[in-house]
């Protein structure tokens, strides 16, 4: 009915270029060019644009059109057609993904900005400026646009694959269920026949026993089958729930047009392992160690072969004595210990611990 309505209205449709109507030429197809969206019939396009690009034949439209860009119209309303085209083009360029943004808010801002650009282009506001922006963005973010496109494609294909898989699985399940039903039915029938033959051949006394036995066998079989089915079903469920996520690729520094993109975090180069955690073994705060110190007493040892033979180095002595000379110089015991004791009220304090030790070991063994 709808097709009829369209065709009836098309009856009196007239090509604006050659004025031939569908009435005279029922096979007539109308084509449009996204350059200016002027409608014309196929024969006109062939006639005018076969020999290369030419101006649009519609009066007042001076756009240069090419034959290969002509296509059939998808939507009846030419404005909708145009908007869809624009939208597709802009979306292809501004194809940032949500995971590329710092926050949801930033992503929403981006979506709004994109809609604004589309609206501008559709309603012809600041067209040149917006176009320039888009072109600039496209040239600057070639790589990320390309990456996102491939991602989208992958997603689409994987989605398709998943749908196919699900359908296939559903089909298999259905088939299995049917088979199962068939088998069960056949078994029941066979069992009944067997039961009947045995009843017919046996004596009347063990009829009841045979009947009970036959029933039991049937039950056992069906329960075994049921557990088998359960197992298969679980396996399938596990298969279905396997993650098919595609890891997103982070990209794009903050560009002029799009704000709030997540910064690409290049992992920091791993620092060389420091077993002392920043502590420099030879660094000291009170003194700097010298190669030698004037001392009559020590000079005797410096060149004494019986001392040196064992591998003794006088510098060991220097570093130890100097460390002990200043170690703890600014540890103020009275302040620090009282602070420490105050901090460890719940835990046994040093003094309390000593008191406990005294109670248990020293005085306690009485």
């Amino acid at each position: 009915m709808a097709a009829n309505a369209v065709s009836r209205r098309d009856e009196d449709e007239v090509c604006p270029v050659c004025k031939s109507s569908r009435y005279l030429n029922p096979d007539m197809r109308f084509l449009i060019n996204p350059e200016c969206y002027h409608k014309m019939c196929e024969s006109c396009v062939d006639r005018i644009f076969s020999s290369g690009p030419a101006n649009c034949p519609v009066a007042g439209c001076r756009k240069t059109l090419r034959k290969n860009r002509f296509r059939t119209q998808t939507f009846e309303d030419i404005n909708v057609e145009r908007e869809v085209d624009i939208r597709r083009r802009v979306m292809q360029i501004l194809n940032r993904r949500e995971e590329e943004f710092d926050t949801k808010r930033n992503y929403d801002d981006f979506l709004e900005q994109r809609e604004e650009i589309i609206a501008n282009l559709v309603s012809r506001i600041d067209v040149s400026k917006t176009e320039a922006q888009l072109q600039k963005y496209a040239s600057e973010n070639m790589a990320s646009i390309r990456a996102n496109q491939t991602l989208e494609q992958e997603e689409a294909t994987s989605f398709q694959a998943r749908i196919n898989l699900e359908q296939e699985q559903a089909r298999i399940r259905r088939q299995a269920a049917r088979q199962e039903y068939e088998i069960e039915r056949r078994e029941v029938q066979a069992g009944r026949e067997d039961f009947l033959t045995r009843l017919a051949s046996g004596t009347s006394t063990d009829a009841a026993a045979i009947a009970r036995e036959g029933h039991k066998v049937l039950l056992k079989k069906s329960s075994a089958r049921r557990s088998e089915e359960d197992r298969i079903r679980q396996k399938q469920a596990a298969l279905r729930s396997e993650p098919t996520r595609v890891a997103g690729v982070s990209s794009g520094a903050d560009t002029g047009l799009v704000k709030g993109l997540r910064k690409i975090k290049t992992p920091e180069p791993e620092k060389p392992y420091d077993p002392f955690m920043g502590y420099v073994p030879e660094k000291r705060d009170y003194y700097s160690l010298q190669e030698s110190y004037p001392s009559q007493f020590l000079d005797n040892y410096r060149n004494n072969i019986s001392v040196l033979a064992g591998g003794y180095d006088l510098r060991e002595y220097y570093s130890r004595t100097l460390l002990e000379a200043f170690a703890g110089l600014s540890c103020f015991v009275d302040e620090e210990v009282s602070q420490r004791d105050a901090a460890r009220v719940s835990a046994p304090v040093a003094t309390e611990g000593a008191a406990i030790a005294a109670g248990q070991s020293g005085e306690g063994s009485a």
Partner: protein, 421 residues
């Protein structure tokens, strides 16, 4: 400061550093606990004695009760101060004991032994364990921890009087327990050597500036050292002066630092610097100025502020250190040897007499106690334990039989017991 953090990791700082008040309260607690125990022990021993005497002689209940009450009143225990004097006396004795050996024991070993004694008697009372027995043991442990090897026999022979090797090591574990198994004592002696080495280097014009004050040169330091105030006793050259101060400080560290509570209240570097201050004040002040910068006078504080408007941390340390070192040197100077003072000796004799009466009778024979220590089973359980072991043996045998029976069955025993038809 890194050096300070290194010191903070030591057991001396973590377990054996106290404030004056906490040290006092700890000693008071130890004293009260020990006094109660001594009283209880004496009462027990009297009861036992009276029980045996009454069993042997004619029972006189009325007079016995009176006597007991009188005895209880008589027990008068040592005060914490008296205990401290006593311990100090035995610390001095330790020094003398170390001197009797040929060759004399190194200062480090003796000082370590003294510190062991002091640490031990923070949580133990002389009324419980007599310092005389602990002293020898402390010195013997110190020879081991200070890597000055001496056989036990040799050591026991060196002690004047009749002392057997068993007597020496009897309280060893007890002592270690009292030390909380921390044997590391940070002495100020080696630190003093380091400080003197630095001063000598500066005097020879080889000094290096402290890392926090890198602008000074060796010449500046040498000039600074030469321009300090003259010493109390004039000396020929700067290195002579340093050597004299070194010797004086060393003597002070050997005696005064050991006999006072300095080790508990201050760090080793503070102790040797305060002793150095006592020996030669201008020299010690110079060393501090070189290390931490800026002379500090207690009366006129000169707060240096850096660009952040904060007090220079070095200055803060320096002024705090000034106070601490002054306190510590006062403590060191307050010491006078007991043996040189007749008044103190008299007091000591009185304390010793008092101790004779309030010694815990159950702790006198340490040898027996240490021999008993590893035996964990009480004697009273001997009879029951025999029957117990018999029972256990029976049970084991039964189990083995059962195992053997079940061993024949490939799949083990039945899960539920079979009911016999």
């Amino acid at each position: 400061m890194i050096e300070d953090d290194i010191y903070r990791a030591s057991s001396q700082y973590r377990l054996w550093s106290y404030t004056e008040s906490s040290l006092q309260s700890l000693r008071a607690t130890t004293n009260t606990v020990a006094s109660e125990r001594v009283r209880a022990a004496l009462r027990r021993s009297r009861e036992q004695q009276s029980a045996t005497s009454s069993a042997a002689g004619t029972p006189q209940p009325g007079s016995d009760m009176d006597g007991k009450n009188k005895d209880e009143k008589e027990i008068e225990c040592l005060t914490p101060e008296e205990e401290l004097v006593l311990v100090r006396y035995y610390c001095e004795k330790t020094l003398e004991l170390g001197e009797t050996y040929r060759p004399p024991m190194p200062t480090m070993a003796r000082a370590t032994a003294i510190q062991y004694l002091r640490r031990f008697y923070i949580t133990n009372s002389p009324m419980t364990y007599h310092p005389k027995s602990i002293m020898a043991c402390a010195l013997f442990v110190a020879t081991k921890t200070e890597n000055y090897y001496m056989s036990l026999r040799q050591f026991a022979d060196g002690i004047p009087g009749e002392t057997s090797p068993e007597d020496v090591i009897a309280p060893e574990f007890l002592l270690m327990q009292g030390l909380r198994f921390t044997f590391d004592i940070r002495h100020p002696f080696r630190g003093l050597e380091g400080g003197v080495m630095e001063l000598q280097a500066i005097a020879d014009g080889q000094g290096q500036p402290a890392p926090h004050l890198p602008h000074e040169t060796a010449e500046d330091l040498q000039q600074g050292l030469l321009s300090i105030a003259p010493p109390p006793t004039p000396s020929k050259s700067m290195s002579d002066r340093i050597a004299v101060a070194h010797g004086k400080t060393r003597d002070l560290l050997k005696t005064a630092a050991q006999m006072t509570d300095a080790y508990f209240l201050y760090t080793p570097s503070q102790i040797w610097l305060s002793a150095f201050l006592v020996a030669d004040r201008p020299l010690a002040e110079f060393l501090l100025d070189v290390k931490l910068g800026g002379p500090v006078t207690a009366t006129i504080p000169t707060p240096e502020t850096d660009e952040n408007g904060l007090l220079n941390p070095l200055y803060e340390i320096r002024s705090k250190l000034h106070r601490v070192l002054t306190e510590c040197s006062a403590l060191l100077q307050s010491y006078t040897p007991l043996s040189s003072d007749p008044v103190q000796m008299k007091n000591l004799k009185r304390i010793a007499k008092k101790l004779y009466h309030c010694q815990n009778p159950e702790k006198v024979n340490l040898k027996r106690e240490s021999a008993q220590a590893p035996v964990s089973q009480p004697d009273s359980g001997a009879v029951t334990s025999e029957s117990e072991s018999e029972r256990l043996a029976k049970k084991r045998k039964l189990e083995q039989e059962q195992m053997a029976r079940q061993g024949n069955d490939v799949f083990g025993p039945d899960l539920v017991q079979r009911t016999k038809p």
